[in-house]
Point group: D2
């Protein structure tokens, strides 16, 4: 039987040339699979046609924007998903969805191999390959950039050799990954950690210093899901898109960080994720009002672990699924409205209202209506501190 | 023996009137203790004199600014101390220092009681009283506002009755606690969570929207301690003061949150802490470069727990001290420079350099000089994902 | 309207006398509620009659054994519930069930108050009262032993005064709480921590040193639930009862510990819980075979926190319920057989088999059939250790 | 320069033959390093001579028993180190010490390589190699069993070929690793998880069912360190040795488990560790008396993570060292006596006394002398449960 390689196809030069290259290397056929995750750029039909022109025996394009928003971005909102407290997992959550579609295409089109374009020192190779192993361990994996040291220069030379009908763009200095949830940029001069980012790095956000008028809006959630903006019903995808636009216009969501990669090294990364940042900020603020204290404290640990699992390529892993069960159980009453102001690169929450609120005006107020029984405090304070008091006394005496 | 009440004295109306009131209620004498924690306002000598004028048998004033910065703010920097990921513990870290000085004054001046002005529904009563129990459980505690329902109106009437030489200010609508680390504001209209904060709430920060030119600066740390700003040596106190000034001018450090109080209720709080926010942001960014991945992941949990312990009034408790030991052990190499831009309410890190950096250019770069051996990746990825792969296969088969 | 006090009634002297006492103290009526949780002793009908004889206007007896086993013991098995790694929560899990039935009885019989017999220094008052607040905060709570300093001596005197038709037993030196899940004993001489327990403390277990022949058995679980013993189908209640009998005969399940009470003190406790110990040991062993490594590591933290929550009286609290969701999500494949030997006080697991096993003979074996690709190891080891290697090099250089 | 391979040498057939084999494969010289970790067997001088006879250019033997006890076993006691709550890390803690001595020998004797005998599917290769990378990353690593598929059969054939002066033992069916801290056994028939262990597996322990008279003893600790047994001063090594003897005689410390290996597979392991089990049990019981509740709760998490780190080969890693700092800070007052009974395979604690005890008789007693103020309880209970009460009310209303 002929080998069939199912390739994660972007439409760009590298993966286009990879089609004939993989066919040659394996002696088999290539099925190209491209996903629209809201990354913008050309229309998917052109992408599909290019794959066929380059020799793919099948070319599958999928509009996966809503699936990505509902099944991957939404859990990230519910988990307030921020790796290292900062990074909203832009690339990390797209990989498992690509894996899912590649595996489905392989099962439909008789694929024996799957191929991706990642190098051997990044996180994405791990996310792809652990995903493949979790979803269908019988598929063999090819990573030309890593396994055959396949580079852009080789790709161009190979394209010329075989007269591939592809336009040779000048090499961009940036390595970019983008989707509707955000945009990741790496580039040589950022590898010196002392260099600040330059303005040309950014595409989703305006300069925060530009001085637009503030943009105030109300985001409504139901059970942890964003359902309306300024009272107008939205899907999750629409919420992200609108907040990308409005947040981006205010310079919200830029991030410059040194990141702990799963392969053991630290790397400099620049991200833009305006919609993600606004949604997670608002969601967190609503949790602050609707989730009980001890549950909220523990959920912060769960959220952090969830983010690490997802960053580490373990989207389909058992632990990730059980963390999801915990998180899902906390969201039922995360319902209400958050008012935020977007301005000068900041997302500022300045109002919350919720029928599920745990804030009790009569317990909290210092004015008329106060129902808090202050006589309870003394007993609470004494017993809250009793074990520490006994230990401190012992420690003082031991210190003598 | 005559009772002696050692009172946490602020110099304001309420605690001034408390001096004769406590003397009357206990039939004893009052020793007033006032600390300068950088809260500003009148000079400490006037405060001391007022206490004596109101009938205190002793009045102790202490310039505790450096002690506060070195022993209380600095550990908060090292712990990236943020309760609920947001609040830099402004009031929470001042209470144990006040406790310490009250207990010392009691031991020096024959105090039998200690007194504080907190109500029975806040956190500060807990912080005071657990602190007293930890430091000297023999001291009896009086909290007039809570135990005698002592209010401002009663205080004013009592002052008039006894012709106390004190000026009657009009009641401010704000309840304020401030020190060099920050400022906390509560006020009636914020008790409706939907009301945004108004401009007159703020005193440490300018309006972030005012449009100053950005302020770029370099903060240098040594072993987790801020030691220089723009190359000029500073003490911790000076660092906080300078960054309060420069951060405040850029509107940095405002916070509007719903907070989970230790007594079981949620409350709305507004804070300003420009210096704290700049220092913790810079410190965290330096840790991102100098602390190893697994240690950094675990330290985030430790930091969060540390913040909860401190918030919960357990500064002197055994767990807090062991968390300190963990944190201290991580700081040795948190040494280097962080460049930040303060502007429009944001603190943006845009450069880091460190002789203790764990960032390895040659491992991270995609350019010339790359020393990362990509052939290692395949084995790593396979075994990293192996336990999940086996479980996913079992789960798929079980699902059939 | 007349007050109606719904009393947690045991049938013993103290709560029998409490019936007329509470009626007198409140001027109201008393509804007695007694639950059969497998504590043994007299039949429930006699208990019911005694309550009426003592003046209760209603006496409700409930056979709650199966409900207790299914809804309270089973979650404890799934959570491998051991407070301080040792104590299987014997009393802690019975209180919320009693609360539930008291609240139901109050709602059915017009109760305005609920009453329990606990003192003010134990955990059970917290479990009762937090449970009442969670289930029906409108019910007022009376705890005569704590609030009225109601003691056994006072009870006997009061019973004589009113000629209560109750037999006056000689005071047992033991304070005992028991149900099908186990038995808790406190007694004066154990308050000296150096005193060993004496033989007369025990009722559920024989002396482990007595030298019976070993008892080998097979416990089958399905989805974390014990469903058969030695191939014979059992309910959860039957499993506990049979293992109490067989484990008890072998001296299994005795425990002598110093425990951290929720009210801040340490106390000495002796427990017997043969069935609980056997079931949790077997369940844990089956999880070791069927739960993936990272999930298992995290579940140990969740299990520990679950046990603390339950110990701390927070059975109905939001965090407890979300921990349940996590735990439940891990149990689907905890299916299989565990062979244990009960002997000399020990539970020894010596065999496991499961269709859901994650143990893969071909990956584990060092004999023929080995499918583990050892060439993967080198890459794994290098990248697993890379971040530590970089940090150790930095630390060595910094140390110079 | 000639390569020099520093070999972890046991004195057995495999590593003896490895000496000429490594010399041949590398064209270099072999330095053999053997450590006495209390594994018993022949005297170290014979081991040294055999290495030389087999062609080693240097043979270093080290009596590392005390170093092992003080620097590796003692931290395990302080951490109550049990991987998966069961396994006292017998092999895991010996590897870093072997690494340390191999690296020192390499630095002294001009070693360019280090060699170990582990396969590619176990944990020990990871512990060795991460240790080497942490201690001296310049040393090249050779693992003949893994890298050259070097097996016992090949070793025997090779020994015959070159007439190596070594006795050919019949192949034991057991793969054994042992030291003073314990003994690990793997063998083919255990790879069927349903097979029970057989009696011939055990060497450190008698059959627990054999019916010796109970052995009661008192273990004294000072700052977490075992310092005396039955009042007689001991070193840590002597404590382990004596408790191995006395515990072993009572069948204490056998363990049969399915273990989660770091390389992603589950494996069946049988261990014996009588001294370790007795010491950790006693140490834990003393902590229960001397460590404050919240610290104890957190330390359980730290202990578990410490055990995972050590199991995972990260002894020298930054996180492990910071966990050590936490643990060390908790041990100061872990001082006192624990009375245990060893019998029938069980370690039973039945008495504790300590000058650092946090148990307060007057707070705990229900008899004369009770100083606990029960009126404090009501306020404590109400505020302890307040946030849950508010949430449960909201949830009930939301459920309607």
């Amino acid at each position: 039987m002929t080998d069939r390689v199912v390739l994660a196809y972007s439409g760009g030069l590298d993966t286009s040339v990879a089609i004939p290259y993989l066919a040659k290397m394996t002696g088999g056929e290539v099925v190209a699979v491209a996903l629209d995750l809201g990354q913008g750029g050309e229309d998917m039909e052109s992408v599909r046609q290019r794959a066929l022109d380059c020799g793919a025996v099948e070319a599958v394009v999928v509009d996966a924007k809503d699936e990505f928003a509902e099944e991957y971005c939404l859990p990230t909102i519910k988990a307030n998903g921020m790796y290292m407290k900062q990074y909203p997992l832009v690339s990390a959550i797209s990989r498992p969805l690509i894996v899912k579609h590649l595996v489905e295409a392989a099962e439909e089109h008789g694929g024996t191999h799957v191929a991706h374009g990642c190098t051997g020192k990044g996180n994405d190779q791990v996310r792809f390959e652990v995903g493949f192993a979790d979803m269908n361990p019988d598929l063999k994996i090819i990573a030309p950039a890593r396994d055959f040291a396949w580079t852009r220069d080789k790709a161009i030379a190979f394209a010329e050799d075989i007269n591939l009908p592809i336009e040779q763009s000048t090499k961009s200095p940036f390595s970019i990954d983008q989707n509707v949830w955000g945009r990741a940029v790496e580039t040589g001069f950022l590898e010196d950690l002392w260099n600040p980012p330059t303005k040309d790095l950014y595409a989703y956000t305006e300069d925060p210093a530009m001085g637009n008028a503030p943009d105030e809006l109300i985001i409504s959630f139901k059970g942890g899901v964003p359902v309306a903006i300024d009272g107008k019903k939205v899907t999750v995808l629409e919420a992200i898109e609108e907040l990308n636009r409005r947040g981006g216009a205010q310079g919200v969501g830029r991030l410059d960080m040194v990141e702990d990669r799963l392969v053991g090294i630290k790397s400099r990364e620049v991200y833009e994720a305006p919609g993600a940042m606004v949604l997670i900020t608002a969601h967190q603020a609503l949790e602050d009002v609707t989730v009980e204290r001890e549950l909220a404290r523990y959920k912060r640990l769960i959220d952090a672990r969830w983010s690490e699992e997802v960053y580490d390529g373990l989207w389909f892993a058992p632990l990730k699924r059980s963390l999801d069960a915990f998180i899902e159980s906390t969201q039922e009453n995360v319902t209400g409205d958050i008012r935020v102001v977007l301005h000068g690169g900041r997302v500022t929450v300045n109002g919350r209202r919720s029928e599920s609120s745990l804030y009790d005006f009569n317990l909290a107020t210092y004015d008329t209506g106060d129902t808090f029984d202050q006589t309870l405090a003394r007993g609470f304070v004494e017993l809250h501190g009793l074990s520490s008091k006994i230990a401190c006394r012992r420690d003082r005496e031991a210190g003598k």
